[in-house]
């Protein structure tokens, strides 16, 4: 185990190699500039015009320049810079022509690898690794490919990457410098010279900007409660290990934590704690997905960091309030984006930033007073994704506290986990931990407030949007309209004895039965409402399909029944119902004009079938069969409660599928309540549905019934 400030190994024997690597970078840069100047002279159109006036001197000058830029014993194939120079350089890259500047940089990278190998002797002792590094250094592509394949075959991708991790950036840069792909040359140059983050992948040369551009969003944060058991695990004291433990408790779940701590001086300060990448799909509505992690690392502002700003703003920290930011993995990159945001740093005083296992080498604090610490395990590949890892020869941040260490656990991703970093800081890096804790001493104290935020790429839509974004009011003790955010529904249509049906409808005085082939049409409507503003409930309604109560239209009723509720005249005369929600059972009479039985109702409308059971004695089961076409999923009901009659509507956001050949059957046991009794009277027991309509996933809006006068 080793740690140190700025230079990881803290070992004098590696420094001469690193110093030599830096000299090679400076020399390579100077040679590259000379090459660019010579290319500019060669391709200058003003010089070309001199060929008319002085053709021989012009020719001799051009020939001398061309010779200087292609002499394999001098600058090598060194055309570079400008449109023509760039094109020629790419052509040269394709043909495997190298310049002196590139060869100098390759030597610099080999020196960096040699410096790392002093403390990672396995890089040279291991035959597979040695073979790979040597082949890459000598630009023997086929041999490098074979060595890589052997390495992967011998120990698998995870182990191979872990073993290579300390020199991962250098090996990739070497490969990119020397291979025939001209697209990755610029990335290799950036890694080798340490001037800025690698802005393309070093293998294929695909622009990071292109990949990061896929991660879009203004960023949003919503308050959320801790999951069961989490609240007690969140630490109530402020220290480095406490903050990292909190990050471990939250885990990569797309959430962040903000805490207020009363410091030893009695001043309240605030700590943002940001976990890393959320596991799962690469691009979700969370900015902490794979794309978010990537863009946070390579861009100055990303949806992740913008969402973090929203969370901090919402938390209510006063202007100029003191703030420490702690992040792991992509969370470390995101907090560093806040640190380098001048606007954020003008609103708040960012005193400390601690990034653990994060690629943050090219982040630059906007406020020079911000104290920054970076903790990285040399076998962790993630911190090297910006191109600078254990082998870097540049002291990019002499004013930062850098802990770049290694331990015997080489396996990635285990060594990247927050738990592993916590264990290392606890057991193996006591001095580094104490140093960081010492700097964080203003934040050492009792936690007085904690709030968790879930982060989003963009503000999340309200539940049920857009169908359910309606004004609400209280009526009969219920918030109306009732919004069902998730559920399913089914209507099974049966033919029934017209005289029995007409007799029941006449009792209510709510229109005339709709006839189909001389028979009345009876409907059993089933709703499974899992998530509603009135709580979950399941219900079943039995009714007879009726014409407009103010006038029958025998032919036009069919298209009318398929229309949405706001235009529909016909409906269902509700005769009986059952519901498993006591509140609704008690209030339905005054809201909708019918009085359901309160009982157990179980419903499943899924997988192409329905399974309904209403205790004690009614079932509706079977397959729905194929669907042919869709109609409105709305339900219009007429009901009478004493002298008052109501028209009520269940509006569905989804259309209903029509199933013309279902095998759904209704079964009624011993009549025990109005529902089973009326189903029996209508002769539905054992009957197969004529057709069904279904909405397997629905959202509904159900307002109070409208009183109507039909007499």
């Amino acid at each position: 185990m080793n740690d140190g400030h700025a230079h990881p190994d803290g070992a004098a024997d590696a420094e001469p190699l690193r110093a030599a690597a830096r000299v090679f970078v400076e020399v390579a840069t100077a040679v590259q500039e000379a090459s660019a100047h010579a290319t500019a002279a060669l391709t200058d159109s003003r010089t070309l015009r001199a060929s008319v006036r002085a053709p021989l001197p012009w020719y001799q000058a051009e020939r001398a320049l061309a010779h200087a830029l292609t002499n394999g014993r001098g600058l090598g194939y060194a055309l570079t810079g400008g449109r023509l120079g760039g094109l020629a350089a790419r052509l040269g890259g394709l043909l495997g022509q190298e310049s002196l500047a590139v060869l100098l940089l390759a030597t610099s990278l080999r020196l960096r690898i040699a410096a790392v190998a002093l403390h990672h002797p396995e890089l040279h002792a291991d035959a597979h690794l040695r073979r790979l590094i040597t082949a890459v250094s000598e630009d023997r592509d086929l041999a490098a490919l074979r060595a890589m394949r052997t390495l992967l075959k011998d120990r698998g991708a995870v182990r191979a990457l872990s073993d290579l991790a300390p020199v991962f950036g250098e090996v990739l840069a070497l490969k990119a410098l020397l291979d025939e792909n001209p697209l990755n040359d610029r990335t290799a140059w950036l890694i080798a010279t340490g001037t800025r983050y690698a802005d393309a992948d070093p293998v294929l040369g695909i622009s990071n900007g292109f990949v990061a551009a896929l991660d879009r969003g203004q960023g949003a944060a919503r308050r959320t409660e801790p999951a069961p058991g989490e609240a007690v695990r969140l630490r109530d004291r402020g220290s480095l290990l406490d903050f990292l433990a909190n990050i471990g408790t939250l885990g990569p779940t797309g959430r962040v934590l903000i805490q207020s701590v009363t410091g030893p001086d009695g001043v309240e300060r605030h700590v943002v704690q940001a976990p890393g990448m959320r596991m799962g799909r690469p691009d979700t509505d969370s900015p902490q997905d794979l794309l978010g992690a990537f863009s946070s690392s390579v861009l100055a502002s990303s949806p992740f960091s913008r969402a973090l700003v929203k969370a901090v703003d919402d938390y209510g920290i006063p202007q100029g309030g003191e703030l420490a930011l702690v992040g792991h993995s992509a969370g470390g990159s995101a907090i560093m984006n806040l640190v380098q945001d001048p606007g954020f740093c003008a609103r708040y005083t960012v005193t400390h930033a601690v990034a653990v296992g994060s690629p943050v080498d090219f982040k630059r604090p906007a406020d020079p007073r911000t104290w920054v610490a970076s903790v990285t395990n040399q076998h962790d590949i993630i911190p090297t994704l910006d191109g600078q890892g254990a082998g870097t020869c540049f002291d990019l941040h002499p004013d930062w506290y850098v802990v770049d260490y290694f331990d015997p656990t080489h396996l990635f991703p285990a060594c990247h986990s927050i738990e592993h970093y916590c264990a290392n800081l606890t057991r193996d890096l006591p001095e580094a931990r104490e140093h960081i804790d010492d700097r964080l001493s203003p934040y050492r104290g009792q936690v007085t407030r904690s709030r968790i935020y879930r982060l989003y790429d963009d503000p999340p839509r309200p539940d049920g949007y857009p169908f359910l974004s309606v004004p609400t009011r209280r009526e009969e003790g219920l918030e109306m309209p009732i919004r069902c955010r998730a559920g399913s529904a089914l209507s099974a249509f049966f033919t029934a004895d017209p005289r029995a049906a007409a007799a029941l409808v006449d009792e209510h005085g709510l229109g005339r039965c709709v006839r189909l082939g001389g028979r009345a049409l009876v409907v059993v409507h089933v709703g499974a409402n899992h998530d509603t503003s009135a709580g979950p409930y399941r219900e079943v309604m039995l009714g007879v399909v009726v014409h407009d109560p103010w006038g029958a239209r025998p032919l036009r009723v069919w298209p009318d029944l398929a229309r949405s509720a706001q235009f529909r005249r016909a409906g269902v005369c509700l005769l009986a119902s059952a519901v498993d929600n006591r509140d609704l059972a008690g209030r339905a009479g005054s809201l909708w004009g019918y009085r359901p039985t309160f009982t157990d109702v179980s419903v499943a409308v899924a997988g192409g079938g329905v399974d309904l059971r209403v205790e004690p004695a009614l079932t509706l089961r079977g397959r729905l069969g194929p669907a042919l076409g869709v109609v409105s999923g709305d339900l219009v009901g007429f009901a009478r409660d004493g002298r008052a009659a109501y028209r009520s509507v269940i509006r569905s956001a989804r259309r209903a599928r029509v199933h013309p050949a279902p095998t759904v059957r209704l079964s009624v046991g011993t009549p025990a309540d109005p529902l089973t009794r009326l189903a029996g009277e209508l002769g539905l027991d054992g009957r197969r549905a004529l057709f069904c309509t279904s909405v397997p996933v629905h959202q509904t809006l159900r307002d109070a019934g409208v009183p109507i006068q039909t007499t």
Binding site: A30, A41, R49, L65, H67, A68, L75
Partner: protein, 72 residues
């Protein structure tokens, strides 16, 4: 146009000097490392120094030709 050639000539004369100095800097690296310098590095530094020497000469030659073009 002659002015342009003269500017290029001046730049390349300076570059020739810088590249020559680069070779000397590389030699200084080896000297600084003493016996600790690995063999592969010695071989590469020798090659790079020679290349810098040749490159410096090429740049100086090109600068002379450009100067002649500018004066002609």
């Amino acid at each position: 146009m002659t002015a342009s050639a003269a500017e290029h000539a001046a730049t390349l004369e300076n570059d020739a000097r810088i590249v020559k100095e680069c070779g000397a800097r590389l030699a200084g690296v080896l000297a600084g490392m003493g016996d600790d310098a690995p063999t592969w590095l010695r071989e590469l530094v020798d090659a790079h120094r020679a290349a810098c020497e040749v490159a410096s000469g090429d740049l100086a030659a090109a600068a002379r030709r450009l100067r002649r073009l500018a004066e002609g």
